[in-house]
Structure formats: C-alpha cells, structure tokens
C-alpha cells in the first residue's frame, strides 16, 4: 500500500464518525465514506501533512453527505424523542425560568480545551435522530435554512422548531456534563 492509501486508511474512522453524526445510519455513513475514499483515490494529491489531507477529505465528505441526505430524505423520520420539548422543564406556566440559567463564565476558558470539544461532540451525538441531523446540517455543514428545508422537504417552521429543541438540549447537556462539574 502506498503512503497516500495508508493515510486515507488512517483517516477513515474520523470520516466515518462525522458521517454517522450527520446521517445517523451506519449503512449510509459507510457509503458516504466509501464515496469520499474513491473520489480521493481517483485524483491523489500531495499534501504537506495529514492535517491538510484531512481538511480536503472533510470538504469532499460534506458534499457526499448532502448527496446521501437527498437520496435518503424520505427515510429520515422523527423519533419519539424528537417530539419532546424542553420548555416545560425550563419554564413555569407563566413563562418565567424555573431555575435561573447559570453563568458559564469566560468563553475562552472552555473553548481552548480539547476536552470541552469532546463533551460538545458527545452532546451532539446524544441529540435525537432528526434533531441531530438538522443541527449538523446547520452548524457543521453550514447549510442555510432554505437549503435544508428543500433537501428534506420540510417547512421552515418545522425546521425552526427542531433546531430550537436541539439547541436547548445541547445547552442542557453542556450544563450537566461540563459547566456543572467545574
């Protein structure tokens, strides 16, 4: 095996991790990653290091993931958990906070820690299926809302409700697994 192929092999698990985070289906994720590796092998390029190669591959992966979403959108259904709203646990019926939000302090403290990135990643992984897919499309793939609605044939209101739930869940998860422990 030449060194380019060996480097691809080394990076394969990372690609698979993000493909799985986006698609929430291991067969589709495997397909997307295989497509990336095939595309890379068709026109091998020289990179100064593995980091540059990774950046290039993640760029290709994002395109392949959009293709997979388009192809499988009909099977991307909501789970019961996707329907749950955190509002009731956060707010009293009159709309006031049940528990005041905690001050998370200076952002630079946590943002520079790899451990914090791992907790964030685990929290994204823990989002319910459809919330996770939509969150990834918006925040990781940086698609705009109109594009996401078109890809999945959902209404803007539907998208917004799901992103809202995802963000409140993420906040809850970070609070419990990072800020409450500091």
């Amino acid at each position: 095996m030449n060194s380019f192929a060996a480097d691809l092999e080394t990076l394969r698990p990372v690609l698979l991790k993000y493909a799985q985070l986006q698609l929430r289906n291991s067969a589709w994720a495997e397909d997307a990653v295989s497509e990336v590796l095939l595309a890379a092998l068709e026109k091998p390029q020289n990179f100064a290091g593995r980091s540059q190669l990774k950046t290039w591959l993640i760029g290709i992966l994002k395109h392949k993931l959009v293709d997979q979403v388009r192809r499988n959108s009909r099977e991307m259904s909501l789970t019961a958990e996707d329907g749950e709203d955190l509002d009731e646990s956060l707010f009293r019926p009159d709309g006031h906070w049940r528990e005041p939000p905690q001050d998370w302090g200076d952002p630079t403290h946590c943002l520079n820690q790899v451990d914090f990135m791992r907790v964030l990643e685990a929290c994204v992984e823990n989002l319910p299926g459809q919330q996770g897919r939509l969150f990834m499309m918006r925040e990781w793939m940086e698609l705009d809302t109109a594009e996401i609605c078109k890809l999945l044939s959902i209404s803007p209101t539907n998208l917004w409700v799901m992103l809202h739930r995802a963000r409140l869940r993420l906040r809850e998860c970070l609070q419990l697994n990072w800020f409450a422990t500091k």
């Binding site: 980091s51 993640i58 952002p107 946590c110 914090f116 990135m117 990781w140 970070l174």
Partner: protein, 63 residues
C-alpha cells in the same frame, strides 16, 4: 404587536434569530426584555458561547 415578552418567549426569539433575521419589532422587544430581566442576559451569553463553540468544533473537525 406585543412588546412585553416572557422569558420563555424571549428564549424562543433569541434562538430563532440564529437561523433567520428577526423583524425589527421582535429585536426591540428582546432588547427591552434583556434590559429589565435578571436571568435572560445570562441565557444570551450561554447562547453566544454555544455558537462560538460550534464554530470552534467545526474547525477542530477539519484540522
């Protein structure tokens, strides 16, 4: 148009603003609420931190 919003409504609008530009009236109502509310400014800082964290995570995944 309603100007006095509850904390719950303000959090909804503040999160919506991450995906769509809000009408001027909503933006003004958020500002007004943040000015008189003791807790929502903390929530807004949490949201800001989360947005920065998402961006950092995106970069971290690509490097």
């Amino acid at each position: 148009m309603k100007f006095m919003h509850s904390c719950k409504e303000v959090t909804h609008l503040a999160l919506q603003a991450l995906d769509e530009p809000l009408p001027l009236g909503d933006r003004a109502a958020i500002r007004f609420h943040l000015w008189i509310c003791k807790y929502c400014p903390t929530f807004m800082r949490q949201v800001e931190l989360m947005q920065k964290a998402n961006e950092r995570w995106r970069r971290y995944s690509e490097e």
